[in-house]
């Protein structure tokens, strides 16, 4: 689960990492532009007031008394380039910024209005997993603000790494050493080491896949402040991470949100063919084959594993798309072919889909599955490539 910036920052602040003072402005569905402008301006005004009397010392850093940043709360990257982050010198400008952001992306559901921090320099810090070594991997750079991949390519010598043994845990010498390796010194080095320790605690205690602060500001008064947050919680750990809930604002579309609530892996695209396939590997492969055949994908949906009995729900999700055909490809072992075929037949009977369905269902009890489909009037295919070609031809209108 990718947390939104403000959610991640709340976790950071709780762990003792300083974040800018802020207000969250939610975008009411159906609300007027005027209302949004006003609420954003009000948030900016409150922040300025706090900055003026310094009341927000607990979580706030020193701010520019009037300047704020308005940031769209979406989980996609590249918000700056996409025009989803704007600075504002006054509450009125903040309101205008909010409106401008929404005009860029109407799916935005929340805005974070933050005090503007006086920035001396920007660092990079992240913690993730290094699979080959089975270590937690801390990456840091004295040149923050850009993507770590870009940094690693353009200035590899600036990217420092520390590997943490999962049983030993992070040691003080490692955080300290990283600070010195970045060229930090004195109090900045000490603060940095503390942030590393706190972020590691966040990473471990929240079962994160990634905990990233980029940029990590060094303010002109020498404080370290998290300029952004990227916190991805491991989906496999959500049953022991009760604190985090799947919320609508984490998703671009209602369908993605609905699929996530259902536990069905689902990604929305803009093409013609709805994939409803079993297994990540096979689904990805079918995606490739569709592309090879000149087709386009409307959605990726994994119908298999724990979801192989959810044919109806999976098909419903596919039908919410503007796809032209649903392509079902499976080759299951536990996800029995006969059960899947029965589910599909039932789903068709109930949902009466408005578009053709191509099936290629193999695996355990595949003979029975084939019979079930035939009995329901579907002509089952048994070769993946043939099924893909058929679906592409239908999508192109070359056949029905």
């Amino acid at each position: 689960m990718k947390l939104l910036e403000y959610q991640g920052k709340a976790v950071f602040a709780e762990a003792g990492i300083t974040v800018p003072a802020s207000r969250l402005v939610t975008v009411e569905p159906g609300g007027t532009k005027q209302a949004l402008r006003e609420r954003t301006a009000e948030a900016a005004r409150e922040l300025s007031a706090e900055g003026a009397d310094g009341a927000d010392g607990a979580e706030g850093a020193e701010g520019n008394r009037h300047g704020v940043v308005v940031k769209a709360q979406v989980t996609t990257g590249g918000r700056g380039k996409a025009g989803l982050i704007k600075t504002a010198g006054s509450p009125e400008e903040a309101g205008e910024a909010a409106e401008a952001i929404l005009s860029r992306d109407a799916t935005v559901r929340a805005l974070l209005v933050e005090e503007m921090v006086s920035i001396e320099r920007e660092l990079y810090l992240s913690i993730s997993v290094d699979a080959p070594s089975a270590r937690f991997l801390i990456l840091a750079s004295a040149s923050g603000g850009v993507e770590i991949e870009t940094l690693a390519l353009e200035a590899p010598e600036t990217v420092k790494r520390v590997e943490v043994d999962p049983f030993f845990g992070l040691q003080a010498y490692q955080s300290r050493g990283l600070a010195f390796d970045l060229g930090l010194s004195g109090d900045t080095a000490k603060q940095f080491a503390k942030v590393v320790g706190a972020l590691y605690e966040v990473f471990r205690s929240r079962d994160a896949e990634l905990a990233e602060i980029n940029p990590l500001f060094v303010t002109s008064s020498g404080r370290l402040v998290a300029g952004d947050s990227k916190l991805i919680i491991d989906d496999n750990s959500l049953d022991r991470q009760k604190e985090f809930e799947v919320t609508r604002e984490q998703f671009g579309t209602e369908t993605e949100y609905a699929a996530a609530l259902e536990g069905i892996p689902y990604v929305q695209f803009e093409g013609d063919i709805s994939l409803m396939c079993a297994g990540a590997g096979l689904t990805t492969t079918v995606y490739d084959l569709v592309q090879f055949e000149g087709g386009t994908v409307a959605n990726y949906l994994e119908f298999g594993g724990p979801n192989y009995r959810k044919a109806r729900r999976a098909m419903e999700l596919c039908l919410e798309n503007q796809s032209k055909v649903i392509l079902i490809v499976t080759f299951g072992t536990i996800a029995r072919a006969d059960v899947m075929a029965e589910g599909i037949v039932e789903a068709i009977a109930e949902l009466k889909p408005d578009r053709p369905i191509v099936t290629c269902i193999r695996g355990t009890n595949e003979e029975s599955a084939t019979q079930t489909l035939r009995d329901a009037g579907i002509e089952p295919l048994l070769d993946t490539e043939e099924a893909v070609r058929t679906a592409v031809a239908i999508a192109k209108g070359e056949r029905q």
Binding site: A131, P132, G305, T333
Partner: protein
């Protein structure tokens, strides 16, 4: 001979008294797997398909010493069960659990490395040497997919493995040992770590890799091939060639992050090393024919 497991390898089952575990335990035994014990806390004294059940792996080991452990425990108990197997001296472990927390997987792999053990999984179908032994869940009854033969297969996938293996068989080959390292971000064991065994295995004339975007396991194979440490023919199929960068499709760890982890990079590394790469499952069979009898 085979790799990892053959008909002589004594096996202990952990968490196999539940309905699904019991179902697959029965199939394992039917296929020839030498299951000597089962472990379910609280059920010592019972039997499972004629196999004695013990409270703990240590207690089982004291009676019937197993060399491999097959875990049917749920994801959130997988770490504990793997640690228990390792602590009892077992050095080959398969855990099929789909959904093991990432940081548990990191600890599982770290513990395995520290112990000098191979843990296969999670999120895998397991390991099968068709006709000899099986650790996990494979539709070995589908003859057109699982037939004994001379091709070693390593895979990160489940359904896709069936798809690819079917093409291997269709091309006239069979499988020596198939190892499903699993689809998790941090599998307990990695492709390259099995290559020495395949190299030494008389039954394996070539190896097929079923990979996908994300991670670096395919590049590690390329490295061993390039260094001449693995000399048998390698044929790879990789899913996710056209996946949009940065999009995470599925829960299987298929994350493409920038330039590294892309299928393009993997294909380049493998081909440079001299491996053959199929662009679609069907091609795996064709390429195998070009390099093996």
């Amino acid at each position: 001979m085979s790799i990892f497991v053959d008909e002589t390898t004594p096996i202990v089952l952990q968490g196999a008294t539940g309905s699904e575990g019991s179902f697959w335990a029965k199939h394992m035994i039917e296929l020839g797997s030498n299951v000597v014990s089962a472990v379910t806390p609280g059920k010592e004294g019972q039997e499972l398909h004629g196999v004695p059940v013990y409270h703990s792996v240590r207690r089982a080991q004291a009676v019937n010493e197993a060399e491999a452990a097959m875990l049917f425990v749920p994801p959130r108990f997988a770490r504990d069960a793997v640690f228990e197997a390792l602590d009892a001296g077992i050095r080959r472990v398969v855990t099929i659990a789909d959904g093991i927390p990432l940081q548990d997987q990191v600890q599982i792999r770290a513990a395995a490395r520290a112990a000098g053990a191979q843990v296969v999984g999670g999120n895998t179908s397991g390991v099968i040497s068709p006709g000899k032994s099986m650790l996990g869940m494979f539709p070995y009854w589908i003859e057109r997919v699982y037939r004994p033969g001379t091709v070693g297969i390593m895979t990160r996938s489940g359904s896709l493995t069936n798809e690819v293996t079917a093409w291997v068989v269709a091309a006239g080959f069979g499988v020596s040992t198939l190892v499903g390292v699993g689809g998790d971000l941090v599998p307990g064991s990695r492709f390259a770590e099995f290559l020495p065994a395949y190299e030494a295995d008389d039954d394996s004339e070539a190896v097929v890799i079923v990979g996908e975007l994300g991670g670096s396991m395919e590049e590690e194979v390329a490295e061993l091939v390039a260094r001449g440490e693995f000399t048998k023919p390698v044929v790879a199929f990789l899913g996710g060639r056209t996946a949009p960068s940065g999009t995470r499709m599925g829960h299987a760890g298929a994350i493409a992050t920038g330039s590294s982890g892309t299928v393009a990079a993997k294909v380049a590394a493998l081909e440079k090393a001299g491996a053959l790469v199929a662009d679609r499952p069907r091609r795996v069979g064709e390429l195998l024919r070009s390099v093996a009898a």
